[in-house]
Symmetry: C2
DNA sequence: GCCATTCATACCACCAGGGTATGAGTCGGG
DNA sequence: CCCGACTCATACCCTGGTGGTATGAATGGC
């Protein structure tokens, strides 16, 4: 009789714990409800612990269930990361997979790659261009080996090194009355649609790094691909490519806060970039999975740090987790 | 047909990768060799990657295999930690499990516990007294929630906060000629048997924290329990309890480097404690699993930091990994 | 009090995973 | 150079775990 917890059981439990409904969880898992119920019960029996409190009307997590949900997610991430990294390492010439969002490199990418290729441990670099907030998960999932990304980001299981800090600007429609002013403060923008949780800057203070922060919801809002028309105002829609953002900014539908280097790279007649005096700066970081200490990654981090060194300003607080990350 | 990697397969692969021999690995796993061979082959097929190069005479790891071994160990650790933490969280009154080595608290434990119990989030504390080097693994395995331990230690997947730094002394047999001197330097001790990799202080500089450090062997030397007679000189024997160490020090069999607070707590006529002018100090840390951010742990860390605050000296370099950790 | 909803139980069927027997390739010794 | 030992792979069988279907039982709303 069964000793070990299996990955399958972890997936089952996570599904039920997320749905809090055996029927829906079973549907999501592509199976029938009775074997799912049985699996969970068997899991509980082996753990010697009740994870879920069930009545026929309601399913709730126990304290142990909440703890197990958190740890099960971590474990599942570790398993899939192992799988992905092995797949990549098995390729004939496994390059270094660098995850970043296009243009979010503070103009350093060419010099970093140059410096990197002069390192002894250098291997070819595969660029993985992703949307905002996809870099850190890609590292965790084993899909990338190293990333360039702006802080703050969710740095669970990641190590990082700040590279450069630069101001962020507000991108406004040129026709916007605010564009007439040479500089703004955040309060000027109250009521505007701000992308990507930037609204939090106006509302709450940033969550502090450290212990005791409540666990954050991890689910990303789903991104409808190939949408037509602007999203409803006030939605926390996430924009994957700059063209889309530019269009919406030009239309006055949103305000956007790009780092200075990104703005400088995209002058555009319909868009005005303005200083925001009380908007915190953006810090570009290099990040990598904590337990991954390959020579190729180390060389990349060295190269990036060396290139950035002259411009380095220490970042006062790297916020590890935020709802919008 | 193939969906997911399973924990069983990870265990199988780790066994084979460690033994580099299917027969022995099968024996270790308590199964026959053919199904083990088949499982590994099936795992490779699903990964699309060759993990092991086999001839009938020799089994070797491929590059992908080495990467997968590292990640598989991490994943297995995560699974067992999830299991253990759930078991503990399911107990009727789950206390905070504090791992430490007896006496290695720099005299702070009573005050830390006092301060902790005044915290709102405080729960009863279960003390887990372990030998040297067992604290960090206990945190990783989900057997403890928080630990007090001296740096350096293997801090993979752990967060830590330094508490106090204090000098270490040399414990010598009172009859030792060196005991006549008021203070020593490490060079005086060349050729002595030093426990727990302290010899590294004499030989190589400490490995630097950071990337690119080669992966370290993780296997602890096995500790024969209930040994009789002193171990052979030069062995990297690990000593579990102080009584054993004292006996060996008194006999002049070893030299030992306890933190000052430990020495002060154990005055003993047969043993002389002497300053070692070039021996680095010891820093007591509080450590906890990185992803575990419970209120009880946060409260404990706060309490420990508050108690230690007056005495806090920053530690210059926490060495994350060492052979002796 | 009835009915809809939802989790648990009962029972069945299939195949994944483990066992045994044996083949095949490789290295070493005579 | 051939033989034999060693070790991994293949062939085949069989058990039990895992999933499906049918149905019961309990809960909460109307």
């Amino acid at each position: 009789m069964s000793g070990d917890i299996e990955v399958r059981e972890l997936r089952y439990f996570v599904a039920v714990a997320e749905e809090l409904h055996f029927g829906r969880a079973a549907e999501r898992l592509g199976m029938a409800q009775p074997p799912l119920s049985r699996s969970i019960r068997e899991l509980e029996r082996r753990l010697g612990v009740t994870l879920l409190e069930r009545t026929t009307r309601r399913v709730t997590l126990t304290a142990a269930g909440r703890a197990f949900l958190r740890d099960a997610r971590v474990a599942l991430e570790a398993v899939t990361a192992a799988e992905q990294r092995a797949r990549h390492a098995g390729r004939p010439e496994p390059g270094l997979r660098l995850a970043m969002k296009a243009d979010y490199d503070a103009g350093l990418l060419p010099r970093i790659l140059d410096a990197y290729h002069r390192e002894d441990a250098a291997v070819p670099v595969d660029l993985l261009m992703g949307g905002r907030g996809e870099q850190a998960p890609a590292l965790r999932a084993g899909l990338a080996d190293v990333a360039l990304l702006p802080a703050p980001f969710d740095d669970r299981d990641l190590d990082h090194e700040p590279l450069v800090t630069e101001p962020r600007l507000a991108a406004l429609a040129a026709a916007d009355p605010l564009a007439a002013r040479p500089s703004l403060v955040l309060a000027d923008l109250v009521g505007r649609v701000l992308p990507d949780g930037a609204a939090a800057h106006l509302a709450d203070p940033q969550p502090l790094r450290g212990l005791g922060t409540a666990p954050q919801p991890r689910r990303l809002p789903t991104v409808p691909t190939g949408v037509a028309g602007p999203p409803p105002a006030g939605s926390q829609q996430r924009y994957r490519d700059l063209a889309q953002i530019f269009t919406l900014v030009e239309l006055g539908a949103i305000v956007w806060f790009p780092p200075e280097s990104v703005a400088r790279r995209h002058p555009r007649s319909g868009i005005a970039y303005r200083e925001v005096r009380d908007l915190g700066p953006s810090t570009l970081c290099v990040a990598w999975p904590r337990q991954l200490r390959s020579a190729a990654v180390a060389a990349f981090v060295r190269a990036a740090a060396a290139v950035a060194a002259p411009a380095l300003k220490p970042v006062s607080a790297l916020i590890p987790v935020s709802d919008s990350a």
